[in-house]
Symmetry: C2
Subunit: 163 residues, 2 copies
């Protein structure tokens, strides 16, 4: 019998599966792309694959504090991949660094969200005040995960134009 | 007090809000793009914005039967926007037709999913058998909605390259 508690768990597991599917698409794109291939721009003059993967890694990394899941692994990525546009040239992060950071961040993050109790997905994220959350209970952890899943898919669509 | 039933509703409302946000981004792109602008390719030789909007409209339209929500509005879109690649030339669907179909399909679809009871999101979609669903209860309506939300975001990312 499907109990109500089980229903909540099934809903949150469905959302986690969706996140893993999109992150898995980036994994596949990285596996099938050489380090030189990462330098390709998604459209003429637009971001390189390298930059977009770093950008997505930084955004995943920022989810640790945002969702109250612990410390970030690569706060130094923000300067290169969030606060500044693509330099369109090799920078101090190597392709090997990028690949390792991508895997480290997302495997740690996925393990952390899989360990949450289903009810914790409805709790507020750390960037919303108690007052604002009382007014809008949809500003919860699940909303953040879905938003970041969409964000990753947005950039996967761009990277796929290079294939 | 947040009851367990309310929790299920909050989770599903969060997912619906995520869908509406992504569809709203296409609405904004359509509003800010002229009919001529819809002919622009997202990258040299790649799909036109026009084609991608028709493609997303057709995919939304197919959600009516897939989620057991009634009849489709524009089955004729499949030939042009799903079964064949972009013709890269004006076809029998005009820009006015496309804009109207986009709005009609998504407003009807959003109303239909907002009318579902929260528990219905955990029911199987119509393309999975009872046997397969028993083995994998994540093949539910919510999984389809999240998958299509990601799909829309994937193409929004491509369209945004033209802006």
């Amino acid at each position: 019998m499907v109990t109500t508690e089980t229903k909540i768990e099934l809903l949150t597991r469905t959302a986690i599966a969706s996140w893993k599917q999109v992150i898995g698409r980036v994994d596949e794109l990285l596996s099938s792309t050489t380090d030189d291939g990462l330098e390709k721009e998604v459209a003429p003059g637009r971001n390189r694959i390298f930059y977009l993967v770093g950008h997505l890694a930084a955004v995943s990394d920022r989810l640790f504090p945002l969702l109250g899941l612990g410390e970030r692994l690569h706060p130094e990525f923000d300067a290169e991949f969030l606060e500044n546009p693509d330099a369109h040239a090799p920078t101090k992060v190597s392709a090997a660094d990028l690949r390792k950071a991508w895997t480290d961040i997302n495997s740690k993050f996925t393990a952390a969200i899989e360990a949450l109790r289903p009810e914790q997905w409805l709790e507020k994220h750390t960037a919303v005040s108690d007052e604002d959350f009382a007014k809008d209970p949809l500003r919860n952890r699940l909303a953040v995960l879905l938003s970041r899943t969409n964000h990753a898919s947005f950039h996967v669509g761009q990277i796929r134009l290079t294939q």
